[in-house]
């Protein structure tokens, strides 16, 4: 008998690289564990289902994976796909661990859901505090795309800024991947902002930064967590220097030995580094569940989740200590602000 693990992720489509990152990571971890004798004697068997980052494909995947008899689901990458599958996993008693950051994911009371990243609201509060109190910006611009993640983060950030008495002079939307942001930026320029907070993904963020500088807008640039990707720097090119990014520690920054070893193995196996921190977050989710099962000496999913809720000491994780609240949220976020240096490296500018 084997321990069946499902991966639900966008293997094709716009987020294919993140999806494949999750899949690769899961399989790598499974192989490592299998090589070391498996989980309580059982080998791990991985099944992958491509949800194309859409709700519909996600629901089909969920049913398929449940049928396969999986105990846990790793993924999905986007909140939308994670959310569409939640109820099916809940009904089947299958644990789902996802990096989806939308707050709504943990608001339904499904015990089967474990978030392995930190919710948008946590980041929003940090970001608002940093901009309003730490930096004292007077004129703040928020930009997001239309994805649920970005809209969620941007909405929450705007609300948090207002709560702190800050001044949002403009809240704009861009279409993800549309590349041409100069019209929006030109409009922003006329508002004379002190800072532009970009709540979208790195692909848009990098270009936004480049075009900001090209238009001669003298404002600071702060990207949300999804901007934390080496491609941001490449895209922004010479404009990358001085841009700031808010996130938990990143792939390249993870100080833990566990992280370094895993990333090295990953690079050896796949010939490239993990595309982002998000794949690793998911791996941590998987590690936590397996850890709980081993501690319980049982494959029971409900028991495993209860174990995780009630742990006193956090589990050591690739992306930092792992600890979970009763609503399925991961606790203990430690956001920081990085400033990009001329050579492309990060300098920590502020820490929570």
């Amino acid at each position: 008998e084997t321990l069946k693990v499902g991966v639900q992720a966008p293997i094709t489509g716009s987020y294919a690289n993140e999806g494949q990152g999750i899949d690769n990571g899961t399989r790598l971890l499974a192989n490592q564990i299998n090589a070391a004798g498996g989980v309580m004697g059982r080998q791990i068997e991985v099944f992958t289902c491509d949800d194309q980052a859409t709700a519909m494909a996600s629901a089909i995947c969920a049913r398929e994976l449940v049928n396969r008899g999986v105990k846990m689901i790793i993924g999905s990458y986007t909140s939308t796909a994670a959310e569409a599958a939640q109820k099916i996993y809940y009904d089947a008693g299958v644990i789902q661990t996802s990096d989806g950051t939308a707050d709504s994911l943990t608001e339904k009371g499904y015990w089967t859901f474990l978030r392995n990243s930190f919710p948008n609201s946590a980041e929003a509060e940090y970001a608002a505090d940093y901009m309003v109190n730490v930096k004292g910006y007077k004129r703040i611009v928020v930009v997001s795309d239309f994805s649920s993640y970005a809209v969620g983060l941007a909405d929450a950030t705007v609300a948090a800024i207002k709560a702190l008495g800050g001044n949002v002079v403009s809240y704009d939307k861009i279409r993800a991947d549309s590349q041409n942001f100069t019209p929006v930026l030109t409009n922003i320029r006329s508002k004379n902002p002190d800072v532009i907070f970009s709540a979208g993904y790195y692909t848009d963020g990098g270009q936004l930064r480049a075009q900001q500088v090209a238009l001669g807008i003298n404002a600071d640039f702060i990207g949300g967590d999804a901007n934390d990707n080496p491609d941001f720097i490449k895209l922004a090119g010479s404009a990358a220097k001085g841009a700031k990014i808010i996130n938990v520690p990143t792939v390249d920054m993870l100080p833990y030995d566990l992280a370094k070893d895993f990333i090295n193995d990953y690079e050896k196996t796949y010939g490239e580094r993990p595309p982002s921190i998000w794949g690793l977050m998911n791996i941590d989710g998987m590690r936590a569940i397996i850890h709980a099962m081993e501690q319980n000496k049982s494959f029971d999913t409900r028991q495993a989740v209860e174990y995780l809720w009630n742990m006193d000491e956090p589990i050591e994780g690739i992306t930092g200590p792992l600890k979970f609240a009763k609503d399925g949220n991961r606790i203990g976020s430690s956001y920081m602000t990085f400033e990009i240096q001329a050579d492309g490296s990060y300098k920590i500018a502020h820490q929570q």
Partner: protein, 298 residues
């Protein structure tokens, strides 16, 4: 005023890229009554080919000569791909109902898009800063070297194409083939060659558009063709499909619309407003701004 002029420059830059790509649609449509849905993906493929030419063939040289060579090589390669595309996916459907070729085009679009993904991977690839970051400031208006290059090169190419089609013998043959292929054969026109020529021109213009995207925005993804394709196709329709000046006008206008709407009206509703404007224009002018030339009499 400053903002207005800046938006004008923004709109014209993106608009001329739309126009370059739109010409590919319009030319193929003109002769074959076919919406070549694979054209957008050809544009995306060009950017990847261009990047590979830069890294593999040019050894990452970034002189002016190298940039020109990248353009020539990529346009040449894509012209070949275009001709092959026509042979494989469209020629067997010449006499089939119009829409069968459209489905074939959608199939070709999938093939090319996923082909790019299989060859270059699903990740975004990034162009180096090949064109120097040079800016001119006119009052508050900032215009970059690359913007000027895009605008000027596009305009020159478009005017040249227009003159070629309207004033030369081969241009007349292209127009004749677009009306009645059998009758064109009776005139001694080799319609197969004309169609191949159309794909050569369309694909190379698309390739140039794709390289501009790469040089200007620098990030390229395997699936970016769809949106450029869609916008360019819409530009072609807006101008009056099959009509070369129409494609240019449509492209420019679409660029200006989206610039002014997302700049002045609302970025949240930019797409909605742009499309509503477009729909309105088509309701009022059912065959596009310049009109498709139709002369049907009963």
């Amino acid at each position: 005023m400053e903002t207005f002029l800046q938006q004008l420059a923004n709109g014209l830059t993106i608009g001329s890229m739309f126009a370059l790509v739109a010409l590919g649609y319009t030319m193929v449509y003109g002769v074959m009554r076919l919406i070549n849905f694979a054209h957008g993906d050809m544009v995306a493929a060009s950017a990847f080919v261009g990047l590979t030419v830069y890294t593999q063939v040019m050894g990452q040289a970034s002189s002016l000569f190298a940039v020109i060579a990248i353009f020539m090589l990529t346009a040449g390669l894509m012209a070949c791909v275009g001709v092959i595309l026509e042979r494989v996916a469209y020629r067997p459907l010449r006499t089939a109902p119009r829409l069968s070729a459209v489905v074939s085009a959608l199939g070709a679009s999938l093939v090319i898009q996923n082909g790019i993904m299989l060859i270059w991977g699903p990740r975004m690839r990034i162009f180096p800063e090949l064109v120097p970051q040079h800016y001119w400031h006119f009052g508050g208006v900032v215009i970059s070297l690359i913007q000027v290059l895009i605008l000027v090169i596009s305009l020159v190419l478009m005017v040249a194409l227009y003159l070629f089609i309207e004033k030369t013998r081969i241009g007349a043959a292209v127009r004749a083939s677009s009306i009645d292929q059998d009758a064109a054969r009776l005139m001694g026109i080799n319609v197969n060659n004309i169609i191949a020529l159309i794909f050569v021109i369309g694909s190379s213009l698309g390739a140039i558009g794709g390289l501009f995207i790469g040089l200007y925005y620098r990030g390229i993804t395997f699936n970016m063709g769809w949106q450029y394709g869609l916008y360019a196709f819409i530009a072609a329709i807006l101008g009056g499909i099959g009509n070369i000046p129409g494609a240019m006008l449509g492209g420019m206008l679409l660029g200006l619309f989206s610039a002014f709407i997302s700049g002045y009206v609302s970025s949240t509703w930019a797409d909605a407003f742009t499309f509503m404007l477009l729909i309105f224009i088509l309701i009022v002018r059912p065959t596009g701004l310049l009109g498709e030339r139709v002369a049907e009499k009963v």
